[in-house]
């Protein structure tokens, strides 16, 4: 084929391409089907959240955090609230901590279910998407029952959680956990051993350990590359040190490993939820903080948690007034988009889509 004269051409993939998960735009230079160069263009969802935070009181920032990462809004709220609580040294009631863990883990499962569906959809299987959303709906119903909203919860408050759970929450939650546990065999049966799925994901988009570390890749993507690092275990926040769960870890760093790892994480999260439900104490759920006059002492800190995509952090500087001086949000997708050109250059366009899907990027986290 060396004698064949070919010409590279540019394809604009996005910002409203079906498989760029929101409004990411990739400028691809292609040689036929082969991607020669990838240039991610972000910023289509830029809402200058960090600037808005500087003009809001701490309590008013929390609903904004929902918009930072709307697939796992609980964790986005939690990371901010957690940082403020650490700054102001507020003791959170025990029950509230348990509720937070339950909500965070439920939300992690919901996010992984979306990942499962969306990835399958990007690789061409349409049905898993609906199956994933079907079980996610159970979780979303639990959230709505508790805090009244399905997507942007505003559940975490500085000093606790906004609502105690209703009576029927615990039986419904146990039922949802059971159903999801049962449906896992369906999910795995559909894709895990499917030869087409294996062909499409095995050894596709391999992210070596060194590259992953260097580019600040975190969460399931990092663990699939062989680094057993989970902030829930390594730097425990909230009450995660009380629960017994494993950190799944895989070593190939390809799309298939990233996919399997997330299914494993669903199982671990189910374990945590059951333990948290068993140990749920009675008591208050909110330590009273005046939202209008809440002034954490001056200071600064970087607080990080492990959300479903990786390390989510917030660098917060308080100058002792009612409004934060600086809120810097760190979303793991930012690094995942950044590493995409390193992983996916030189592959076919279909592999690019598979890689992008298993990196599990969500754009509001990137653009903020």
């Amino acid at each position: 084929m060396s004698g064949l004269l070919t010409q590279e051409f540019t394809v604009n993939m996005g910002p409203h391409h079906p498989s760029t998960h929101g409004v990411c735009r990739l400028i691809l230079t292609m040689d036929g089907e082969k991607v020669v160069k990838i240039e991610p263009v972000i910023g289509y969802l830029h809402r200058s959240m960090e600037k808005i935070c500087e003009n809001r009181t701490y309590a008013q920032c929390v609903p904004l955090m929902d918009r930072f990462e709307y697939v796992t809004a609980m964790s986005a709220e939690y990371v901010f609230v957690n940082a403020v609580e650490k700054l102001a040294e507020i003791e959170v009631p025990e029950r509230a901590e348990y509720l937070r863990v339950i909500m965070l883990e439920l939300n992690r499962i919901a996010s992984h279910l979306i990942f499962y569906g969306a990835t399958a959809m990007d690789i061409g299987a349409l049905t898993p998407f609906i199956y994933g959303l079907r079980e996610r709906e159970l979780i979303i119903d639990l959230f709505e029952m508790t805090c009244g909203q399905r997507l942007t919860y505003n559940y975490m408050k500085i000093g606790g959680v906004s609502h105690d759970i209703p009576k029927e929450f615990i039986p419904k939650c146990r039922e949802a956990v059971k159903i999801i546990g049962e449906k896992m065999s369906d999910y795995e049966g559909l894709l895990n051993e499917n030869p087409i799925w294996l062909a499409r994901t095995k050894n596709v988009g391999v992210l070596p350990t060194d590259l992953a570390k260097a580019y600040g890749v975190s969460g399931p993507v990092l663990r699939a590359s062989g680094v057993k690092y989970d902030i829930r275990k390594n730097d425990p926040y909230s009450i995660y040190d009380r629960f017994d769960f494993n950190i799944p870890c895989r070593h190939n760093g390809d799309s298939y490993d990233r996919y399997l790892l997330r299914l494993d994480e669903i199982r671990e999260s189910l374990k945590i939820i059951i333990q948290a439900l068993d140990g749920l104490p009675e008591g208050d759920t909110l330590k009273k903080v005046n939202p209008f006059n809440f002034k954490p002492p001056a200071g600064e800190m970087y607080s990080r948690i492990e959300n479903s995509r990786g390390e989510m952090g917030v660098y917060i500087i308080s100058d002792g007034t009612t409004k934060p001086l600086r809120v810097k949000m760190r979303g793991s997708s930012y690094n995942h988009v950044q590493v995409l050109p390193k992983v996916a250059t030189g592959v076919l366009i279909a592999d690019l889509v598979a890689t992008f899907a298993t990196l599990d990027v969500i754009m509001p986290e990137v653009d903020r």
């Binding site: 089907e33 061409g124 349409l126 049905t127």
Partner: protein, 353 residues
């Protein structure tokens, strides 16, 4: 050429007599009769295509534990009719930089080619427009026209996604033509004829065990390879890379809208019905079956094959383009040719028949 039909013979005789009474003479008589037949087949096929669109949506809905269309009529039975009407009213958006003639003719060719195959497909005992003695060859030739139209659509749209889709479809259809023909040839070895009617007739009797699919092992292997190749031929998942909506957005038909899009869309479903009808005729005994009228048997069998293709689509992920080609050339072609040669040798040696 057979005009007389088992069930509908009365109507045709009446029609024939009516036209003769009008004073029509050959060749005009034949022309008018064939025109009427074609229009009938066309109408029936349009209905079938509309039905298939609805059915696919229902199957998809039920597989995914949804309802699917429910609004228009009982379980939305005329939903697709309304969709077609809607598409008719839509603005026909044309890209300024398109290649005008190519852009216009692509959907037309696609549509026509999809329907032309039905000239030789026997819907029932004697229910055939024209029983060509090279029937199956004619079908293979005519269905390949589709690829030209897809390539034209890809080129004429002046869109890189569309072009990629068109190129993919050309590569795919041409590659899968080879194993498809090889598995069809296995059947021709069994039957000894290219005529669709002869093939159907040779599967008559003995309940269902005369069907070519039950001639182990060659029949079943040929059937499986044919179904795989046919799925690719009809551009359906897991071989739907020409329109791969997650990669190429919609592939070749990305720039088409309104009725032109509808023509591609209907042609796709007609193609699906075509490959299923061929599978029925070649492997599943055609119209043969006990008790029920022949056309009903044919329809039931064909729809079952269509159902299989639909379950494929709603279960499997999509193959990558290079894997698709590798699968065709490195796996399907050797298997089908080995199957063909062995079957021919067996027949020559007279071990079976």
């Amino acid at each position: 050429m057979i005009l007389a039909t088992a069930e509908l013979i009365g109507i045709f005789q009446w029609l024939h007599g009516f036209l003769v009474d009008l004073g029509l003479k050959e060749p005009w008589l034949s022309i008018v009769v064939y025109c009427l037949l074609s229009v009938t087949v066309f109408g029936v096929l349009c209905l079938i295509a509309l039905f298939l669109v609805w059915w696919e949506r229902k199957i998809a809905g039920h597989i995914q534990q949804r309802f699917g269309p429910m609004r228009n009529g009982w379980h939305g039975w005329y939903q697709t009719v309304m969709d077609a009407l809607k598409l008719l009213q839509k603005e026909d958006i044309r890209v300024d930089t398109r290649d005008k003639a190519v852009f216009f003719w692509a959907p037309v060719i696609c549509f026509v080619a999809a329907f032309m195959a039905y000239i030789v497909i026997p819907f029932g005992k004697g229910l055939i427009v024209a029983d060509l003695n090279i029937g199956i060859l004619y079908i293979i030739a005519i269905t390949t026209f589709t690829v030209i139209s897809l390539l034209m659509a890809g080129w004429g749209s002046h869109n890189k996604y569309a072009l990629l889709g068109g190129m993919r479809s050309a590569a795919q259809v041409v590659s899968y033509e080879v194993p498809m023909v090889a598995s069809i040839l296995t059947v021709i070895i069994f039957s000894g004829s290219l005529s669709m009617v002869d093939i159907s007739n040779s599967q008559q009797g003995n309940l269902i065990f005369n069907w070519f699919i039950f001639r182990p092992p060659f029949g079943i292997i040929a059937f499986i390879t044919y179904i795989i190749a046919a799925t690719a031929e009809a551009n359906r998942t897991p071989f739907d890379i020409p329109e791969a909506e997650q990669e190429l957005v919609a592939g070749f038909n990305i720039e088409y809208s309104g009725m032109k899009f509808a023509m591609f869309f209907l042609a796709e479903f007609v193609n699906m019905f075509t490959v299923s009808a061929i599978a029925t005729t070649l492997f599943l005994g055609g119209w043969n079956g006990p008790l029920l009228p022949s056309w009903l048997w044919f329809l039931i069998k064909t729809l079952l094959v269509v159902l299989l293709l639909m379950v494929f689509r709603w279960t499997f992920p999509r193959l990558r383009v290079d894997q698709l080609m590798e699968f065709a050339w490195k796996f399907l072609v050797p298997v089908t040719f080995a199957n063909l040669i062995l079957a021919g040798w067996m027949k020559y040696a007279g071990w079976y028949w």
